[in-house]
Symmetry: C2
Subunit: 138 residues, 2 copies
């Protein structure tokens, strides 16, 4: 399947999700693990579109989400920093999903600097992630 | 907001719906009214995207759908025939929504020829519309 940048932006404006998970992790100094991920979920009948996104970005995995839904997922920090974030900086999302993306980017850049490993930085990450993916305007 | 064809295709692949409603209508010879409509629904925080689609296609309306959701809707047959259908013939949808679009197009072309006003045509329209917007592969 042949896809191009603007189609990817439109599709992600509709179906994409930029999410920052925070998981308790007793083995880490901060006690928490920060898990940023970019996902696109589709019914399994459209799994070929997810594989096209994987090929387009050159990273991530396509896995079953739940039931009859499949997900394209990018979790690797280097892939987020080198592929996903530069793409959406160059090709701007047009919906309010852009605000989620900008918060997501902020968290990943903080992680690159190791700020999430210190209490103050982690508190900031938690605050930012709590403001993402809300249905109300920010 | 500046939008372009590929973004529109990607966004509609994600969020668009091609639907053919059949309503009982005792005043019509066939007893039924065939109501094709193209819609894109968004949370009200992204209503500006719906207005951008309306401006892009030069037809349709933006109205409240229900609750906090808004809809861009095109129902006029001439607008469907002259704007929406030619656009998606030129710029192909990449998900299985393309099959729904092709069925939708078939119905609108049948209506243009008045076939839905005769029993046989109406039965065919009902059959086609029953095969649209299914979550299972066709």
């Amino acid at each position: 399947m042949d896809i191009e940048a603007s189609w990817v932006v439109g599709f992600v404006d509709g179906e994409g999700c930029f999410h920052v998970g925070i998981a308790r992790h007793p083995g880490m100094t901060s006690g928490c693990q920060v898990l940023p991920e970019f996902t696109v979920v589709q019914h399994q009948k459209d799994v070929k579109v997810l594989h096209a996104l994987k090929a387009y970005f050159g990273c991530g995995v396509v896995r079953r989400n739940h039931g009859d839904r499949m997900a394209y997922r990018v979790r690797g920090r280097d892939h987020l920093l080198e592929r996903i974030i530069p793409f959406f900086m160059k090709h701007q999302l047009k919906t309010s999903k852009r605000q989620d993306f900008m918060k997501f980017r902020k968290v990943v850049l903080m992680m690159q600097r190791g700020e999430h490993l210190r209490d103050e930085g982690l508190a900031r990450v938690k605050e930012i992630s709590s403001q993402m993916n809300r249905s109300q305007p920010r």
